[in-house]
Symmetry: C2
Subunit: 399 residues, 2 copies
């Protein structure tokens, strides 16, 4: 397995582009991603009861398992904007389909940005004509820029693996970065691959992959109305078709997981206002659910997150967060580590000096491990710290 | 019903005091509250699996239903401090009991502050002698100061009602202010009354009262290891003994609720870094649990709280928070108000201007109401906004 350049256009037979049509105050804000031929397609969507119009439209459309393209705007979520929102989302797909010469039903759509306003279709319509015209084999870079909102940097990756007698590539791009919690987030992620794989197997692999990647990221415990993950597989690599479980699917899964885990970690690292990527590991839990509950409670605790921002080894807050999670926990059996430094052992603080406990907190990445010593279940969650800038961004991000 | 001065020493037969023994960097940090005679007692404690030593000791002790006094320190939580923590908690009660001339089992104890350090008994021991000596009928004021940690102001109240043929008083004091979520918080609250009421009826009334007061407050969704509420009733008012449900209990309940709701709102108003008291109302939910889940999800959303700090009417975040809560919700039936301004009605933003939507946010208190229009259940929750100062306080509060 090796990393290659190009993001979503690294796999064969994909083109992409990003343009500015003026939805955001500055920067690119409209992206198109297209496969030269119809591709197997799969999607995952927010579990929020309030779903944006593009989510409502795309979740119906992706059921067919076939797609040619994804049109995405940033700057406006097209959520809670009234019944006209669905018309706008559909119109975006219609225009993109017309430009590409494919059925409207084969175009998926996603939006991210402010909630509660109608899309400015008068600027999006000419923008779609422009983005169709700009499609290119190296457009993955600008497309990854056009889907950003408060992201500080674009997030993309592509890898190449040998699979089923061919060199297969998987590319991905995503955007974060607030209103982020598991079962997706204001997270848009787009995966492309030239692997030949059936829609069913692609859907299975994507679902499994999300469980170890996107669903393990939390920035602020909020879940967006717009979360969307799409995967498109066009078969251009010429590998043996993956249409049932088996070694080829497992190999594809491993490669896909590499892509999604990378993107998920990048989302946590670039959480709003984040200064650090934080990995929370909980081991020895009674059940998988307990492990996840404890890890998420720690990852979402504002007190833990502000202490990490302050580089203050306030481990009591970590234990208190795990303790309130509802997971079975006995302090007298619990161990806690910052990095590799054991801070707390079976009910008592260790003799470690505060300065040594603090040392792992000074790096850009911090791993916090809680050993419950009750059972065999583990969980891993990625998050970030909670800084002045989180407040600044979210107090000032305009409605 | 009328308000009177004095806090916990307003009811007859109670004395209190606060002294500085040097646990905190500055200010009073040791409080004693004592009834002249043995009192009926009830207590409520944190649901966190990690319980501080004074909680473990007091929850056993209060089962007897009788207490004379409560000794409280601030600045050190006596939590996760190893097995010696229980000895320290017990020693505090022993010294207070010796000073008061009562059995050690009749002294309850509570602590709040930093987790993970042994109590500095060498300064607490002389402090207890001093606080016993200072006990006075007007010590409720200084006691309410001695239990503070990052509280910006002491919180106390006392009321007088006619009940069962006598003038009965109920006094209360509490401290907040971070690591605060329902099912208590780093919240210590102490209620005194000169009512004659059995321990069983006092316990029932206290539990009910917490459900509409302390359990409806959330500052940051974190739950402390030390949360404690005690109520002591010494019967000095000479009312008919309340020893069974009936009109006297209901009258006592109403008075008690006035005290606890006042304290709960004061805790939210003085949340760490708070600039506003925020009341979240959810009406028309399918079930009581749905109403509470939706209200809590809104109250705990960092995105909602930062928007309120920014006085930005970002109502989409409120809907998104309700939508992720798991409560049954249909956007097309949902209405949303800031104060009395209707912002969103049955799936669509109203025509209200941004400036008008913002107006209710400029006051010190903001009420946000969500009408789900599905069922008949309601919930009310108090919280505060999320400011730079929350981050500052919690990034710098030293371990």
């Amino acid at each position: 397995m090796q990393t290659v350049e190009g993001g979503v256009t690294a796999p064969k037979g994909f083109r992409a582009a990003g343009v500015r049509c003026g939805i955001k105050q500055k920067g690119l804000d409209l992206a198109l991603l297209a496969s030269d031929a119809s591709a197997a397609a799969a999607g995952l969507f927010t579990t929020n009861a309030v779903k944006a119009a593009p989510v409502l439209l795309s979740l119906e459309r992706v059921r067919a398992g076939v797609a040619r393209a994804v049109i995405v705007n940033s700057g406006n979520a097209n959520a809670c904007a009234g019944p006209g929102g669905l018309d706008d989302a559909d119109r975006m797909t219609q225009l993109a389909a017309a430009g590409l010469g494919c059925p409207r039903d084969e175009v998926l759509v996603a939006s991210t940005g402010i909630i509660g306003r109608r899309l400015p279709m008068e600027i999006i319509e000419p923008g779609i004509a422009e983005v169709v015209a700009r499609l290119s084999r190296d457009g993955g870079v600008e497309a990854s820029e056009a889907i950003m909102t408060t992201d500080r940097r674009p997030k993309r990756i592509a890898i190449e693996v040998e699979l089923g007698g061919a060199q297969v590539r998987i590319g991905g791009m995503c955007k974060g970065v607030g209103m982020l919690a598991p079962n997706l987030a204001t997270m848009l992620a787009f995966i492309t691959t030239d692997a030949a794989i059936s829609p069913e197997m692609l859907g299975l692999a994507l679902k499994r992959s999300a469980e170890v990647s996107f669903n393990c990221v939390t920035v602020d415990g909020d879940t967006s109305t717009n979360d969307t993950v799409f995967a498109l597989a066009n078969g251009a690599a010429g590998n043996r078709l993956i249409d049932s479980p088996g070694p080829d699917l497992e190999a594809f899964q491993a490669a896909l997981d590499t892509v999604t885990v990378h993107l998920a970690r990048e989302i946590a690292r670039d959480g709003e206002g984040a200064t650090k990527l934080v990995e929370i590991r909980v081991n020895g839990a009674a059940t998988d659910e307990d492990a996840r509950k404890a890890a998420m409670a720690i990852a979402n605790s504002p007190l833990v997150k502000t202490a990490i921002f302050g580089e203050d080894p306030n481990w009591g807050r970590v234990l208190a967060a795990a303790g309130k999670s509802g997971a079975r926990m006995e302090p007298d059996r619990t161990n806690l580590y910052f990095g590799t430094v054991k801070i707390f052992e079976r009910g008592e603080p260790t003799a470690v000096a505060a300065e040594e406990a603090r040392r792992p907190m000074l790096a850009d990445e911090l791993v916090i491990t809680v050993e419950l010593n009750i059972g065999e279940s583990s969980a891993k969650v990625w998050t970030c710290d909670f800084s002045y800038d989180y407040v600044k961004i979210n107090a000032e991000y305009h409605t």
